[in-house]
């Protein structure tokens, strides 16, 4: 099993979720994060003084999937999240050694 962690633009969340639902992805976990990267924050003014908002609001998506479908998931994730503008985000894949469903105690593939 693999854990796919994707940093995406917040307003793409619904699209991505819909895209993944069509695959065999049964769940995901979402965190609000702030991102820092090539995309630069915008300058704002407050009472005459300028300042730059460095960190941009992003959404982090964590999806545990069966290793078998990983390419498929990444592909559909990319096509749903892509705007082709800078700041679209990244996908990270890590290995999952073990998965347990708390309710039932089922483990690994069965627990996804």
């Amino acid at each position: 099993m693999k854990l796919i962690t994707a940093i995406i633009k917040p307003f793409k969340l619904d699209d991505v979720r819909d895209a993944l639902s069509t695959l065999d992805v049964r769940g995901m976990t979402v965190t609000e994060v702030k991102g820092f990267g090539r995309q630069k924050g915008h300058a704002e003014m407050y009472r005459g003084a300028e300042y730059v908002v460095d960190f941009l609001p992003k959404v982090k998506l964590e999806v545990a999937v069966n290793a078998a479908i990983i390419d498929q998931v990444i592909e559909s994730l990319i096509s749903a999240a892509r705007t082709e503008k800078i700041g679209d985000g990244k996908i990270f894949v890590t290995d999952l050694e073990q998965v347990v469903r708390i309710r039932t105690g089922e483990t690994d593939e069965n627990a996804l």
């Binding site: 917040p10 307003f11 969340l13 704002e44």
Partner: protein
């Protein structure tokens, strides 16, 4: 005797000023109500609109509107003639020369106090608009519309009734402005909403409504209480005079009826919400209070308090169904202003016939239609011109990010919200 006249004049002026200050306070009520019912990302901008429209209303009504609405001599029942600025203040000596009988033929309270009371009414009408077009209209075209509404559109139709124009002659009754103020504001708002379209994502392609919850309901509740309080000035001051037993009794009746209509509106709206949604939707209770208040505004004096409660309750029912009905028509009004001020305003005009023997249904309908047709036409033209000239709607991206950042460059709650809502 002299002293008594002085005292009457002084008491009526003071009463007028206090009632006017109460109405001015309604500006804060609208600002809080609207700020509470929009999303966090559009809050600073709606606040800016509210305080700026109040300033615009004061300035425009001072420069043009007051003279237009209350001309010394109207050209005819439809057209007051162009006029500017304020008239002179009353001369104390002249006031004292008036004998008791003539007293009330002139307005024997300070002329400046009359202006003050009138100017806060204009601001109320314009405040209604800001709520309905919230979360998607550009700031500057809105303020330009405020210039036209408060300087020209409102005073013109106001002249028809309160300035002694053709609606007054036709026996149309509108004590404190269910029509002249509230229906006018709601109609101008509706015109704007029609040209503006709904907020993105409000209506789904499958025809269902996507609710967009307001960010701060305590603020919305505070706004409603402020409006309720201010309405004692709005209706109570519209008696114009308090300095004798009959008028004092009248003002007291108006206070009681205004309060009971709002109470009836809350009770009814909450019950309807409970019935239909299974839950006690607070926002509907708030709209119910305002619906009740608007409904009694055309005739807050004559009904017994029980009838006033019922008129308000009917307003509370109407406002809830009105909101759902407008949503079905895809007329998107984030705060329910069109329903509360428009539908209940119309109902208020009609309800006059329930208690006022001098009112006729047909006169009321003539008034209702004249005001709404004129305001709708004039507003549509102004909004359309603005749209053609500079655009009235923010871009999709600005709407997504929120107009606070695009229009005001600041956030209303920079520490409380995450940006991906």
């Amino acid at each position: 005797m002299e002293n008594t006249l002085e005292l009457r004049y002084a008491l009526d002026t003071f009463y007028f000023l206090v009632m006017g200050a109460f109405v001015m306070w309604m500006a804060a009520g609208f600002a809080m109500l609207e700020a509470g019912l929009v999303r966090a990302k559009n809050t600073a901008e709606i606040l800016t609109k509210n305080i700026a429209l109040y300033a615009v209303a004061c300035i425009m009504y001072l420069l043009v509107g007051y003279q237009l609405m209350y001309p010394a001599d109207g050209v005819n029942g439809f057209w007051p003639g162009i006029g500017f600025l304020l008239g002179a203040e009353n001369d104390p000596a002249a006031v004292l020369r008036t004998s008791g009988d003539e007293w009330y033929s002139g307005s024997y309270y300070s002329a400046r106090s009359d202006f003050f009371f009138q100017v806060v009414f204009v601001a109320t009408a314009m405040s209604i608009v800001s709520g309905a077009i919230a979360e998607r209209m550009k700031l500057w075209p809105f303020l330009f519309f405020a210039v036209v509404l408060t300087g020209f559109i409102y005073p013109l139709q106001g002249y028809w009734k309160w300035g002694g124009g053709f609606l007054d002659a036709a026996g149309f009754m509108d004590f404190a402005g269910s029509g002249v103020v509230h229906l006018t504001g709601a109609t101008a708002a509706l015109a704007g909403v029609l040209l503006l379209g709904p907020r993105k994502d409000k209506y789904r392609s499958d025809g269902r409504v996507n609710p967009i919850p307001g960010a701060n309901l305590p603020l919305a509740t505070l706004g409603t209480f402020i409006l309720w309080f201010g309405w004692f000035g709005f209706n109570g001051g519209s008696q114009l005079v308090v300095s004798n037993i009959a008028d004092a009794n009248a003002v007291a009746s108006i206070f009681v009826n205004t309060n009971m209509a709002a109470a009836g509106g809350v009770a009814a709206a909450l019950s309807v919400a409970r019935l239909h949604f299974g839950k006690a939707d607070l926002t509907m209770a708030l709209n119910g209070a305002i619906g009740g208040l608007v409904s009694i505004t055309a005739e807050p004096l004559i009904p017994v308090p029980y009838l006033a409660t019922l008129i308000g309750a009917a307003g509370g029912v109407l406002v809830v169904y009105g909101i759902m009905w407008l949503d079905r028509l895809r007329i998107d009004d984030p705060v329910g202003a069109i329903s509360a001020h428009g539908i209940c305003g119309a109902w208020g005009l009609i309800a006059v016939v329930l208690s006022n023997p001098e009112a006729a249904l047909v006169s009321q309908l003539i008034g209702l239609l004249s005001i709404s047709a004129f305001v709708m036409a004039a507003s549509l033209i102004v909004w359309a011109l603005l749209r053609a000239a500079i655009g009235i709607r923010v871009s999709d991206e600005e709407e997504f990010t929120g107009v606070d950042v695009s229009e005001c460059g600041i956030e209303a709650y920079p520490e409380f919200t995450s940006a991906n809502r």
